[in-house]
């Protein structure tokens, strides 16, 4: 599929056209597109974004803990390098995971750059990535036995 995209809306429409109702939500503002999908089709959408829309450069993987909704939102921020006119966009690929057992397929096959980002998300938010070759502690001390520190119930002492 050759893409002749015009602006943020074009990107959103392309994803919408390919995956239809499985895309939970699309938000777009100037130079930013956020696509929320179900976690089952996350690798498929990622492949589609990389191969058809040329978003090949992973910026970061991060998660936000929402205890109220009992979800953890996992977001991949991707930009494009090969396509010069697309470099100004940052595409956010998000998925909602249940807070009790956050498991998500690893996207390391799609973007190899995700390796350390996913490891960091694993230790900081407790999200398990299936298919990651080495899901171990990265930044935290080896003897860290507390809950993942970026969960909202982890309080800093004295705050």
């Amino acid at each position: 599929m050759s893409t002749s995209l015009t602006g943020e809306q074009g990107l959103a429409d392309a994803v919408k056209a390919a995956f239809g109702d499985k895309v939970v939500g699309i938000k777009s503002k100037s130079k930013r597109v956020k696509i929320t999908v179900d976690k089952d089709i996350l690798p498929d959408v990622a492949r589609f974004i990389r191969d058809n829309l040329d978003f090949d450069h992973l910026i970061s993987v991060d998660g936000t803990d929402y205890p109220k909704d009992n979800t953890i939102e996992l977001i991949y921020h991707i930009t494009s390098i090969e396509k010069e006119e697309q470099r100004k966009y940052i595409l956010s690929l998000a998925t909602k995971l249940p807070r009790d057992s956050p498991v998500s397929p690893s996207l390391i096959q799609v973007w190899p750059a995700a390796e350390y980002h996913e490891r960091e998300t694993f230790e900081m938010l407790g999200v398990t990535f299936t298919g990651h070759p080495k899901l171990e502690k990265l930044l935290l001390p080896d003897d860290w036995l507390d809950i993942p520190p970026l969960r909202k119930e982890f309080r800093l002492p004295g705050r």
């Binding site: 970061s60 940052i90 750059a113 900081m124 930044l139 003897d143 705050r159």
Partner: protein, 378 residues
């Protein structure tokens, strides 16, 4: 505690078969607060495992307990040589959340401070790169000439390393009157010095022998691994956030993005070497083009609230594309701040590039990526 024992990546045997594993760091002259476990087969590195986290402070968590403005002095401490560059995208993201825009003069002031920090950071890099290759003069010359730019940063921001100069809504203070004379004098001197740097280091045939063809990062690999900044440009890609997605007032300035196709240590060094020159040109133009007028919006610093929402902003810091993802829930404190630092993104290149190289190339490759452990650990 079996999990602890398992997670220790260092093998208990010193010599496994023909292999010898040595630990470069965290207490090693050729590493920062960082460890690389290097498995050697003769003089060739057969495996390299990075082990970050020695200076992890949890900046992302700490952000959740401070106001939007109070985060500025804390976040800029992740990268002391590049304090203004590292805080820049955070300011942009917060401004986007708050729906305010800095006055044009403030945007030029930000460019000036960020580019000064880029020069300082690159000079620091150059000094350490020189001494990692055993070139003692290239350690002390950049460290000495860095003083010029530290002096300029102090003139602008009040302190030498962490000025907390740019804040949501503008810049803290205007340029002093003597800044322009001082800067032009320093730039004139430093442009002449750059030629000497070239003669003694970048064109020195022994340095070329050490750095050319060492740690080659191909164009396609650089994209796939998510490498950013001068390292990406050293692999033949002309990609720079200042050009790709012009922020502040970069679109009004005329500058070039240096890029080298080789992808080796030398190319990455040359990119930074040319950026020193271009940063000075940017500051010269910014000082000329800067309009008069306000440089700070009347934002109540301590009680400023941001409406609920989220924003992603990125800029080109000295080490590469620096981006922040800020989520606000409508209070005066951010709900979540994700700091995506270039060093953390470039870290994946360390094990990749070290593999197959010589032991002597470990510091050269490691530092040619300009990996700053404190920045990566956050």
């Amino acid at each position: 505690m079996t999990s602890v024992a398992r997670s220790l990546p260092f093998p208990t045997e010193v010599i496994v078969g023909d292999k010898l594993s040595i630990s470069i760091g965290p207490q090693h002259p050729g590493s920062g607060h960082f460890r690389i476990i290097v498995v050697l087969e003769g003089d060739i590195v057969s495996e390299a495992i990075p082990d970050p986290g020695y200076v992890h402070r949890g900046a992302e968590k700490m952000c959740e307990f401070r106001n939007f403005v109070q985060n500025v002095p804390m976040l800029e401490r992740t990268t002391l040589p590049d304090a203004n560059g590292i805080i820049f995208p955070y300011i942009l993201a917060v401004e986007e959340l708050m729906g305010i825009q800095a006055p044009p003069r403030a945007q030029y002031l930000r460019i000036i401070s960020a580019e000064l920090n880029r020069i300082v950071s690159h000079l620091y890099w150059l000094g350490i790169y020189g001494v990692f290759l055993g070139h003692s003069t290239m350690f002390l010359w950049p460290m000495g000439d860095r003083e010029l730019f530290m002096d300029l940063i102090q003139t602008v921001g009040g302190t030498r390393v962490t000025p907390s100069y740019i804040i949501p809504g503008g810049a803290r203070n205007d340029l002093p009157d003597n800044f322009k004379d001082k800067a032009l004098k320093a730039f004139g001197y430093f442009e002449r010095r750059l030629k000497e740097y070239d003669r003694i280091f970048f064109s020195n045939p022994l340095v070329l022998k050490r750095s050319q063809g060492v740690g080659v990062l191909k164009r396609s690999e650089a994209i796939a691994l998510g490498i950013t900044g001068p390292n990406l440009r050293g692999s033949g890609l002309k990609s720079d956030t200042r050009k790709d997605e012009p922020y502040s007032m970069y679109e009004t300035l005329d500058f070039d993005i240096p890029s080298y196709p080789d992808g080796d240590c030398w190319a990455r060094g040359m990119v930074r070497f040319h950026e020193l020159y271009w940063s000075m040109q940017i500051i010269k133009q910014a000082v000329e083009k800067m309009p008069s007028g306000p440089f700070r919006s009347r934002l109540p610093l301590l009680t400023a609230r941001a409406p609920a929402g989220e924003a992603v902003a990125r800029t080109e810091a000295a080490r590469g594309c620096m981006s922040y993802y800020v989520v606000s829930d409508g209070t005066s404190k951010p709900y979540r701040v994700r700091v995506s630092v270039p060093s953390f993104r470039n870290m994946i290149g360390i094990p990749y590039l070290l593999k197959g190289g010589h032991l002597a190339d470990v510091p050269a490759i490691y530092w040619s990526l300009d990996y700053w452990p404190v920045e990566a650990d956050k």
